[in-house]
Amino acid sequence: MISLDKVQPSYLEKEKIERSQIWNEQLQISKGERIQIVAPSGSGKTSFIHFLYGLRNDFNGNISIDGKQLKNFSAEDFAAIRSSVCSIIFQDLRLFPDHTVFENINIKRVLNPFHGEERIKEMAARLGIENKLSKLARTCSYGEQQRVAIIRALQQPFDFILMDEPYSNLDENNRMIAMELIEEEAKKRNAAIVLADLKRLEFYKADRIIYL
């Protein structure tokens, strides 16, 4: 379980914190839950995802995963969490631009594999990028790169998958296919989906919608 106890970014304006259902509140996210965070621009959506993943710690209050406070985590603890508890799809994707699509996905898979190598091809085919596997990531369109980031996030075991505007560059059809794949994979792991976007996504049937 992820618990947030009166978390607020140290740099955010007071009125934005007061309006939020997350900042300075108590919040729990349990395994298996489907959560949508609706967050307008500038409300701290990416910060929130980065706080949960341990990339930033410029906040007040406490965040804990399975009872352990993130602020007490060492670099090794974060590595363990990232390889087996929390998976992520970054808004800025964070791919290795000079490596192939396959290498980008497989480098995550070999760290702590949940699937065999052949599943990469199956997922790529499902999201329509199977012919891009041998191409360098930087030669792919942003939409294709977004699908690479989605497939990469699904290669490891996880209890929580954190997604920061994961479909911003996908068309409606591809959004639905990708969402379906993510939901399938989350179900296999009984994992929670935490999807943060600028507006509510109709095709995502969330258990809870929280406004940031």
Binding site: A75, E76, R82, S83, K108, L111
Partner: protein
């Protein structure tokens, strides 16, 4: 669900994400520097051991101390005076920090005559001396005497025996080996106011260090009182026990006091000291070369990590452990270090073999094989290189 085939994570997994192939020039220069430095250091240590081995027998050291005899310098000006050491001289010597101990060589204050019976028809007046046992290089348990004892043990100078063997044939006397000298019964006659007292004497040991005929201190003190009526005579020679006979402070002091040192006994010490200083200097230079090579290699590593910074950061973000990354990246250079150290060790062995075989013409005192401590040092350097390399990479990665 099918079991997943796990790939073992290794350097090969992450190698494509690191820019290790770049800046090869500085990498190879650092390898070459390290090889030269290690070779120099190993050779210096081996040469240091060789010097000790070759000059071991010539070194008059015992239990880590040098023993030297001093006398007062006899010149034309002072030859009429009593040039013996008095108690104040002895106390002054004993008080100096660079002198561990000082003991007088007490001489006989009565007439002493020795003869060797019928087997060796030879007799001569002789001087006897005694010295604290601590200062004598060879003291057998039988070297003691108490009043009433008829046999007096003698420690004889090996140099004197050599001199005897030189003139003995011309005088029709038999030459004697060290062992046979110990079997000859000697008659010692001590002349005193009450007449002549005869003792049996036997050579119980030969001394390389002390040019004298030594009898137990107890005997000479007793005999000087009994026959010479001089219980505490001043000594003409004093033996010094010192950590280093070539200590400049000691030599300055002796020169200032106009004392004469038996230079033969310290000559090899000086040669050895100079050679050791040269080799130590070479060793110091070698350590400097190793440090420079390691610095160059650390620049290469820093550059490699700086160039791969984005990829390394992303690997850490994806969940790769910084500890595992440090170990795995550091391991990459273990084969290079191993080869460098083994090559340097083999070259040291080759040079030692050539030195012993060609320069020393296969002399037995020196082994053609390198000393075990040189191998231990090579192993230590290998470990040190790996450890320094690992710590550096770890530091750089944790800083990302």
């Amino acid at each position: 669900m099918e079991p997943i085939k796990k790939t073992k994570l290794s350097f090969r997994t992450i190698a494509p994400f690191l820019n290790i192939g770049q800046n090869n020039t500085s990498r190879f220069f650092s390898y070459a520097g390290l090889a030269i430095g290690v070779l120099l250091l190993l050779c210096s240590v081996q040469m240091y051991i060789n010097i000790n081995q070759l000059l071991k027998d010539k070194n008059p050291r015992k239990n880590g101390f040098d023993f030297i005899a001093i006398t007062k310098n006899i010149t034309d000006q002072n030859m009429g005076n009593d040039n013996r050491f008095n108690d104040a001289d002895l106390k002054e010597l004993q008080s100096k920090p660079f002198i561990k101990d000082a003991a007088p060589l007490i001489s006989n204050q009565f007439r002493a005559k020795v003869s060797a019976g019928d087997i060796i028809p030879f007799s001569t007046d002789l001087f006897l001396e005694s010295l604290k046992n601590d200062f004598i290089d060879t003291v057998p348990p039988s070297f003691s005497w108490q009043p009433g004892q008829q046999e007096v043990p003698i420690i004889f100078s090996a140099d004197f025996l050599e001199m005897y063997n030189i003139f003995a044939p011309a005088q029709g006397l038999p030459q004697l080996s060290g062992t046979s000298a110990g079997m000859v019964t000697i008659f010692l006659e001590c002349y005193g106011p009450g007449g002549i007292q005869k003792y049996k004497a036997r050579i119980v040991a030969l001394s390389d260090r002390i040019n004298s005929v030594l009898v137990p201190e107890e005997f000479l003190k007793w005999a000087n009182r009994e026959y010479g009526n001089a219980p505490n005579p001043p000594a003409a020679r004093i033996y010094l026990k010192t950590v280093d006979a070539n200590n400049p402070e000691l030599l300055d002091f002796l020169q200032q006091k106009n004392y004469r040192v038996n230079k033969d006994k310290t000559k090899f010490g000086r040669v050895k000291q100079v050679l050791q200083a040269v080799v130590t200097g070479l060793g110091g230079f070698a350590i400097l070369v190793i440090l420079l090579a390691m610095m160059l290699f650390s620049f290469y590593l820093q550059l490699m990590i700086a160039r791969s910074k984005d990829n390394l950061q992303l690997l850490l973000t994806l969940g790769y452990s910084p500890g595992w990354l440090s170990k795995t990246v550091a391991k990459k250079w273990i084969p290079a270090y191993t080869i460098i150290i083994i090559v340097a060790l083999c070259l040291t062995q080759l040079l030692q073999w050539l030195f012993q075989g060609i320069a020393l013409n296969n002399r037995d005192e020196l082994s053609p094989l390198i000393h075990i401590s040189v191998i231990a040092l090579a192993a230590l350097l290998w470990l040190l290189c790996i450890l320094v390399n690992y710590r550096l990479i770890r530091k750089l990665l944790y800083r990302l």
